[in-house]
């Protein structure tokens, strides 16, 4: 007779081995059964993956427009008379200080220069009979202006730190100012006169992403403005920043610019993705997840169906197992594990193919695929959970079979 070894009686290990053998015995059917879950999980992974990738695209577009520029200026406060009172001031090396902060790609100071009424002309003609004409504004900046505001030159060059330090009398004209002053070609070494002093035009700026008034201005180096017009301090800093650098910038820039009084500096930096943007994303998510959920539900129903069919087909086997001493729970455990294996397999295959689809789509459209790895693992796990839920009823049916009736149905 059999020796008493209750611990070696049908355990989890045996149930698992039997389930694997049961699943493996019908590979053709396994593929069909798994298909529903594969499609469901793949749909979830693809939709969420493309949603994340697409959200990243939305981010990039938002960023291209406005999220990559920042500026800083002295804070103001209304005084008792209702006039704006400037609280702090920017140092002359504000641009250099800003550029030392991580995430700042370029920075330039910008100040309006008070020319004390001096007219700006391309020809120094003093004609008292001529109608007074308004002159273009004069702006003073530091050398990295073009990078900081995303500007381009149509002709010539921008001034560099050498011009700035030497206080050279050079100017860059905004394209509108150039038209007004009749300057068309830099190659002829034209000059403009601010008051009576000639300034050589070295470049014409024809576009900018920020500070459109640059295009109608005469731009001089900071150093020149200090020397010739007694500019006392820069009025603002323009910056080109990396995506996501805003928090760092808001935190560090005031200290960098005004270590003794950081509160006196106002930083205008793009915030986190706007609420509008987040609304769009959450709507997209809900729709995509609902689709994936429906697909998954269909996959689960598929598993339940096939497992139930399998239980009916294998009634003889169930009867045999009961005759050999299997308890109801042993039979239930076996079919439940089979169903979990099928679901988990579907989850794994589905998650892998989903990742592959997201990668291929991104490759074809030259997007950067963005996928949360945890989401992929969770999707594979979700397959197993779907299998578990789908297997509950069939396992119960298997466990409820009476051995005599089950045996009669043959094997």
């Amino acid at each position: 007779m059999a020796s008493e070894h209750p611990r070696d009686r049908f355990g989890l290990r045996d149930a698992f081995a039997e389930a694997v053998a049961g699943v493996g015995a019908r590979t053709g059917r396994l593929l069909l059964t798994v298909l529903g879950t594969v499609l469901g999980i793949a749909a979830v992974v693809v939709t969420v993956g493309l949603a994340q990738t697409g959200a990243n695209r939305i981010n990039e577009r938002f960023d291209a427009v406005g999220a990559r520029h920042a500026s800083a200026e002295p804070a103001t406060r209304d005084n008792a008379q209702g006039e704006a009172q400037v609280l702090g001031s920017l140092p002359w090396d504000a641009a250099a200080r800003a550029e030392r902060i991580a995430g700042v790609r370029a920075a330039a100071t910008i100040s309006t220069v008070d020319t004390d009424g001096a007219t700006i002309t391309s020809v120094p003609v003093n004609d008292p009979s001529a109608a007074p004409r308004s002159s273009p504004a004069v702006l003073a900046t530091s050398p990295h202006l073009l990078e900081a505001v995303g500007g381009t030159l149509s002709q010539g060059r921008f001034f560099d730190s050498g011009h700035d330090e030497r206080a050279d009398r050079v100017v860059v004209l905004g394209v509108d100012a150039a038209a007004r002053l009749g300057v068309t070609r830099v190659a002829t070494l034209p000059s403009v006169f601010i008051g009576d002093e000639p300034y050589q035009v070295i470049g014409i700026m024809d576009s900018t992403e920020r500070r459109n008034n640059l295009l109608s201005s005469v731009i001089v180096p900071d150093g020149t403005a200090r020397a010739d017009f007694d500019l006392s301090k820069p009025q603002a800093v323009e910056m080109l920043i990396q995506v996501g650098a805003s928090p760092v910038l808001i935190d560090q820039l005031p200290v960098a610019l005004a270590p003794t009084n950081p509160n006196a500096i106002t930083v205008n930096a793009p915030g986190k993705p706007s609420s509008v943007q987040q609304d769009i994303q959450s709507d997209v998510y809900v729709v995509f997840l609902a689709l994936g959920g429906v697909a998954l539900l269909i996959g689960g129903v598929g598993i339940a169906n096939v497992t139930l069919l399998s239980v009916m087909e294998r009634a003889g086997e169930i009867g045999l197992r009961r005759a050999l001493g299997a308890r109801r729970r042993d039979v239930a455990a076996q079919f439940l594990i089979e169903s979990v294996i099928v679901g988990g397999l579907g989850g794994l295959i589905g998650a892998s193919s989903g990742v592959a689809v997201v990668a291929v789509v991104s490759l074809m459209r030259q997007w950067t695929p963005v996928l949360d790895l945890r989401m992929v693992l969770a999707a594979a796990l979700a397959g197993a959970i779907v299998g578990l839920l789908a297997g509950l009823y069939p396992a119960l049916r298997a466990a409820r079979m009476e051995p005599v009736a089950a045996l009669r149905s043959g094997l």
């Binding site: 059999a2 019908r26 050999l324 001493g325």
Partner: protein
Amino acid sequence: MSTTQASPASDKLPPHEPVPVLSLRGVSQDFPGTPVVRALRRTDLDVASGDYLAIVGPSGSGKSTLLNQLGLLDRPTAGEYRLRGVATATASEKVRTVMRARHIGFVFQSFHLMPHRSVLDNVLLATLYSGVPRAERHTRAMAALERVGLGHRTRFMPTTLSGGERQRVAIARAVVTLPDVLLADEPTGNLDSASSAAIMDLFDELHGDGLTLVVITHNSDVAARAGRRVQIIDGHLAELP
């Protein structure tokens, strides 16, 4: 008919009162319906250790009902069935399942082999539920297959075997757990006469080794091999000479 051969349990009992392996007292089984089918009527039957019993009778006489009772696959409507002295009629499902796994081996007319599993796996299946130590399962299954003359077929699939070979696999599966009694339901019903004779020879050998056998059959040649015969007609059991 009882034998003097000692069963393991009888060591603790007076030698002049050997406990039968199987003992039915007043066992009846009715199947609900209109009219109620009385498949077994107040049946008394003792099977001693080492017996070779044939149960004969026409179709529908209650043979299978009796076998299901003996195999603990069904509960009696009335009466008591003791297996190795343990009352089972009202025992819990768990107790009956454990006793079935430990004490009874089944051989069916249609073999009941799992078609997608190897011969060895089919035999190993019985060891899973009967508490055979994990380390011994393989050795025991191989020994059982050697015993029925199929040591060379262990990796085969049942579908590639002849009917006689399949039934021998089923017998190996039934004896691998070293049961107290082997219950065979029309074991030669699906076999030709040559294969049947081989199976009956195997039963003779197993009986010679001390195994208690209960065989249900309507084949008189098969019944003739048994040392003891009972006939069942309309649910009534009677000893045959």
